[in-house]
């Protein structure tokens, strides 16, 4: 297949190039990227050919394929929630061509066999690159370190116990230190489980009003503090997952100013929604960490703008409908996010919180740096890995149209602006123009 994209506006943080260009792709490889000063008229062939796809991309953008460094693909073990096939299909529909899948599968990804299984499945059935994240501790139990070096060799790009945070500070210290030799970072889900107790939403006036047990912001902030202090004292890197509070932002800001090697991510729901979304006991807005208050939402947006938060990740957490069709307290945590994350993030650009270049960096270059992923960007000779985007196209989220098995989204029915029209990943082309 030969693809010719004319007049696209490329923003590529990997090659650090930006401007109008024609891109020619020959059988999965970029054969030519021709930057030019202005849009030139193109006469597309009237007779579309099966072997040549020509696209007039005037007014459209081309970005490197997005990277989601926090995804739950659920396979092996929870294939009724999501599979590698459906999860990666959801990814490319949402513009992501690389996903990093968390270790809380069954069995847990705490040994190379599971990593090999995931990678083999991804190669066979996946639509995009899959980078497994290994468990920090065996069985996510927080007691013994997993075989991190061997997991790294098998293909894990980072380590995290995600939803089962390492509560023991000594184990966390050892994991952080050990990771220096392994060459892959620790991703910390910061939550003091004893402070969270059996909380189900943000603690505050609204949780009291709804009679739901609250999770205090302190539950996150205490552990963000611990991890940056450990990182500082033992000279390690640490990546803070899904930052949800203003206090966490302040701790990370101070740590960065002091030169601590800390990076951080947040998710679209934390800069888009507040705890109000939970009113009416909406289980699709139940997520961990919980949706917070307006001042937190503002702080997260500012932190994205100021560069304190480096990465936007989805924390794509698909669940079966039966796991959400229960009273709020009993519902599982999580939002199916791959198919909406980018469009929701584009709102930051439309609202002038971030410029487009900065947004794309947080979705491509920054996660690739943290995880040491080798990405070429859009350049001649490279395997093609790009998305074509109309940042102004209006569309409505319809959860029933998700290709993800997880229909658990609080954004159903939302009108969003900005849509991925094509995802091209190697020889695979995904055409979303009609969707």
């Amino acid at each position: 297949m030969f693809i010719k994209i004319y007049n696209a506006y490329i923003i590529d943080p990997f090659t650090n190039k930006e401007g109008i260009a024609d891109i020619f792709i020959d059988d999965g490889i970029i054969s030519k990227v021709k930057f030019k000063r202005k849009i030139t008229p193109i006469a597309l062939s009237l007779q579309p050919s099966a072997s040549i796809l020509e696209i007039d991309a005037s007014g459209l953008y081309v970005f490197p394929g997005l990277i989601d460094m926090h995804t739950h693909l659920r396979e092996p073990g929870y294939e009724y929630k999501e599979t590698i096939r459906t999860g990666t299909l959801a990814a490319v529909r949402g513009g992501f061509t690389s996903v990093c899948c968390m270790a809380n599968t069954n069995p847990v990804n705490d040994n190379p066999e599971v990593t090999y299984y995931i990678l083999a499945k991804a190669k066979e059935e996946g639509s995009c690159d899959v980078y497994p994240i290994g468990a920090i501790t065996k069985g996510l139990k927080g007691e013994e370190l997993s075989e991190m070096a061997m997991l790294r060799e098998a293909g894990c790009v980072a380590f995290s116990d995600d939803g089962m945070p390492v509560m023991n500070s000594l184990i966390m210290r050892r994991a952080l230190e050990y990771s220096k030799a392994v060459g892959a970072p620790i991703i910390s889900h910061c939550e003091d489980l004893s402070l969270s107790e059996d909380g189900v939403m943000n603690e505050g006036k609204l949780s009291f009003y709804l009679g739901l047990k609250g999770i205090p912001k302190a539950s996150e902030e205490v552990m963000v503090s611990r991890d940056v202090i450990l990182s500082k004292h033992f000279k390690t890197s640490v990546h803070i997952a899904h930052v949800s509070t203003k206090g966490s932002v302040e701790i990370i800001k101070k740590a960065k100013e002091e030169g601590v090697s800390v990076t951080a991510e947040t998710c679209p729901h934390y800069f888009t929604l507040t705890e109000e979304a939970v009113s009416g006991y909406n289980t699709n807005a139940k997520v961990n960490p919980p949706l917070r208050s307006e001042e937190d939402r503002e702080a997260i947006k500012n932190a994205l703008s100021d560069g304190i938060i480096d990465v936007i990740a989805t924390d794509h957490a698909p669940h079966h409908i039966d796991e959400k069709k229960v009273p709020f307290q009993e519902a599982l945590n999580g939002i199916s996010g791959l198919e909406t994350a980018f469009a929701i993030s584009l709102k930051l650009v439309h609202d002038k919180i971030l410029n487009l270049r900065k947004l794309i960096e947080k979705l491509t270059l920054n996660p690739s740096k943290i995880l040491n992923l080798k990405k070429d960007g859009i350049k001649e000779g490279a395997q093609v890995d790009l998305i074509l985007v109309d940042i102004n196209k209006n569309w409505t989220v319809k959860k029933d149209k998700f290709v993800s098995l997880g229909k658990n989204t609080p954004f159903d029915g939302w009108k969003l602006k900005g849509k991925v029209l094509f995802t091209v990943k190697g020889k695979k082309i995904f055409d979303m123009r009609d969707q």
């Binding site: 505050g204 006036k205 009291f208 709804l210 009679g211 739901l212 229960v326 009273p327 009993e330």
Partner: protein, 302 residues
Amino acid sequence: MKDLIGIKELSRQNIEEILNTAKAFKEVLSRDIKKVPTLRGKTAINLFFEPSTRTRTSFELAEKRLSLDVLNFSISTSSVVKGETLYDTLKTIEAYNVDYIVIRHSSSGAAKFVAEHTPASVINAGDGTNEHPTQALLDAFSILEVKGRLDGLKIAIVGDIIHSRVARSNLYLLSKFDTDIRFVGPPTLLPEDAPDNVKIFYDLKEGIKDADVVMLLRIQLERQKGAFISSLKEYFHVWGLKKEAFSYLKNDVIIMHPGPMNRGVEISTEVADSSRSIILRQVTNGIATRMAVIYLLTPKEA
């Protein structure tokens, strides 16, 4: 109105209508024949996922006085033993063609969940730590009987506020009237971020000395384990309502308790059995109030 999920959803007018209706039913209950044929041929089910003898008995009696056919469905569940989902239980019950579902469940929002999925009228008999609306209504009814009004009263709610659906329903009800509401108790059992119209007191005397109504809440014995309180003995010493309090309480104060009470923990025997206590009146009024609620609800035509 189809359901009674919470006081939150009611207007002052709704509340007054229920209380007026309850008054009429209380009169019926004082007659020799205490039953009215109003709902003959209709069926009510008491669906209790948490054990409760008092509330269930009160509802059952209210239903029988209205000539309803009554089914009792008690399911003991714990978060450890997961069986049928609430949704499936509900669909099973719906297949019996019941008209009224009285539900008690350990999850906040469970009554709303049930109401959204059934045409039957749903009455919340307590959902998690959210609401227990009929308790607040019978409390208001009892206060009205004694005080003649709700407006202008100072009401102190003492004890384990954060875990109490009774406290919440009373708060929402009293907030719809011109009342002065206080929460009194140890900081660990009070909301960290209290509603704007509530005053917080850690000191019992300060909180109740000028109150017209003192509502005591049951202290769960297991609170000691969660480090909410150090011991029941210390709780009684600091926050228990003892007869010494009569030296500073208003002469016409009324003492209330939703039951079952722990003598020697939140209340002393002398106070519980004193002339200022209206605890047994609350129990009696529960039946008339619950009759009024059931009577005023209209199930959706199936």
